[in-house]
Symmetry: C2
Subunit: 346 residues, 2 copies
């Protein structure tokens, strides 16, 4: 049956997610998970939803209750919210809604490598625009003609943020929709929700990072009610399950918990950054829950040795930007262990 | 931003899932949910997985443990199993893997209406082939040239089954892959797993029906390891969450529970069928957890009146096959209520 596959699929290497080791003694600083557990309200909400009767029935396909809560907390129209099985699901939905075969997706580079896989699956082309040396977007934007432009803000692997005023001018320059992938926005100082509300950009959000819910897969998009109605046509009817809907709704209601967790992560990020600089790494100014650490000598041996010592970080290479280690901000204890090992190794 | 949508999306009406009423006193016989709760082992497994540490971390992207259990129980190669966020997710993945823009999907009709939506989103054409009056597939098969052929077996709304030997000859006739959508196969007398194992067909399964897990969204495909590797490229990396993976794995281990639940449903189906025949309905021979009931006079008023009386069934019309009520096999009490009302109404 392989011969019937679309050639683009055969040709793909496929997106390789970060390692999920099965041993529990590994210090996992490679996939930007939150080192702290989700709000106790989340566990409570899942327990309440955990009845045979809820499990045997289909969930609400539109996630009405979640959208009402999210709309209130984020001050956006609930009808402009589309729920997704992780924000990756929404990036897929947006790609399928806007990008034809042979179409063009544009993204600054280096950025989230999934954008390339999304383009490949859709038989579209991914055109990339290099970030400026200071991680700003070039002005004017060189490829305004695109079926979809993805800007991860904060960006991965750099953790850097494009100022919201630049996002606004980019939206004006583009002849096509602009998607702000705000998976890490809760760790940053600004976001584009105001622009999403008026339909100038589309914002996607994840509950994996700031709400510590990577395990339950939940994300959402914020746009206008008109566009939300169209995107719903593209999503699987029941793309979010009853437990993750309950979890996501509860997580959003506990903003105080999220802010506390965020504050701890930001404090540890500062400490990690200072220490890495002292150890001779070069860092970008991160507004996310990870840092991008580079140094002149090859980093692969350092990555391998850290792994051997039970510490997983992400090793990445980007053409024109060299290699680096993307290090998730873990707990203080985890970061201490990392820094101890690094002090011996560099 | 609406003007940038692919025209096919604007033109779509979108798939309308069956109603999910919020009132709990409604007798819900409209979306083929299992009337009995899932195995207690499922609840237990979710409870065990419900820790802050599991929720904050990404799930295993490939569902290794689930695949090992499913492989053992179904006697298939675990590496030939692809996990999905409901079997709809797998139907989407298969469509994207095999069908180009302008391509052709073929399905017998009347059948699962989602196939049309999948074709539309992919800018492909859905060509349908009418079932024979006895709900068999016409021989020879009139449209062997297709990028993908979907056969729901048992079929919805009819509940009928195409004999496995006819499935085999169809696979030989086709110049393209054949997908057996076996969402209801656990209620039937035969299935195509043996054919899937050798790569002659691709089988998709759902845990929504026989395992009573519509709320947690879990399905899987069975094919060869070679093709499974390609399909994984198309799926979202983390398409199944940690709780649904735990639930699905536990559900499969409790085959005795599933068989007991199945036996109850089949006994009730027999009773429901006999009673409907006595009330003057025409029925197809169902091997699923629902029946397809027709009668000469218009059925819409009957559907509306049942709804007014708190009983939801599914009203459907198919060109060339007329209208009918698709009635899920509920508990004995629910079916008694339905039959009481029907006896007053017809």
């Amino acid at each position: 049956m392989l011969e019937f596959l679309r050639p683009v699929i055969r040709a793909m290497t496929g997106y390789a997610p970060g390692e999920q080791p099965r041993q529990s003694n590994v210090i996992k600083l490679n996939t930007n998970e939150n080192p702290y557990p989700p709000s106790p309200r989340v566990i409570e909400a899942i327990r309440e939803a955990l009845t045979g009767d809820r499990l045997r029935k289909y969930p609400d396909p539109l996630g009405t209750e979640f959208r009402q809560v999210a709309g209130r907390i984020l001050d956006v129209d609930p009808d402009g919210i589309v729920i997704g099985n992780g924000s990756d699901d929404l990036l897929t939905i947006l790609t399928r809604a806007f990008v034809p075969e042979g179409g063009r997706i544009v993204s600054p580079t280096p950025s989230y490598v999934l954008y390339r896989a999304l383009a490949e699956i859709q038989s579209a082309q991914l055109a990339t625009v290099s970030f400026c040396p200071n991680w700003d977007l070039p002005t004017p934007w060189p490829i305004p003609q695109a079926h979809l432009t993805f800007v991860a803000n904060p960006n991965s692997p750099s953790g850097t943020v494009v100022n919201i005023s630049r996002v606004e001018t980019l939206a004006d320059e583009l002849r096509g929709p602009l998607v702000l992938d705000e998976a890490y926005a809760d760790f940053a100082e600004q976001n584009a929700l105001l622009l999403a509300r008026t339909g100038r950009v589309i914002v996607t959000r994840s509950l994996s990072k700031s709400y510590a819910l990577a395990g339950i897969r939940f994300g959402f998009a914020v746009t206008t009610p008109q566009l939300a109605r169209e995107l719903v046509k593209v999503k699987d009817s029941y793309n979010c399950d009853v437990l993750s809907l309950a979890a996501a709704t509860a997580a959003l209601t506990d903003q105080a918990y999220m802010r506390t967790s965020r504050a701890r992560i930001l404090a540890t990020r500062q400490r990690l950054s200072d220490a890495l600089l002292r150890l001779g790494f070069t860092l970008t100014p991160s507004e996310a829950n990870f840092v991008w650490a580079q140094r002149p000598e090859p980093l692969r041996p350092l990555f391998d040795e850290l792994k051997r010592r039970g510490i997983l970080v992400r090793y990445m290479v980007y053409e024109g930007f060299g290699e680096g280690l993307r290090i998730t901000v873990g707990t203080d204890e985890e970061i201490d262990r990392l820094l101890d090992e690094l002090a011996q190794l560099v």
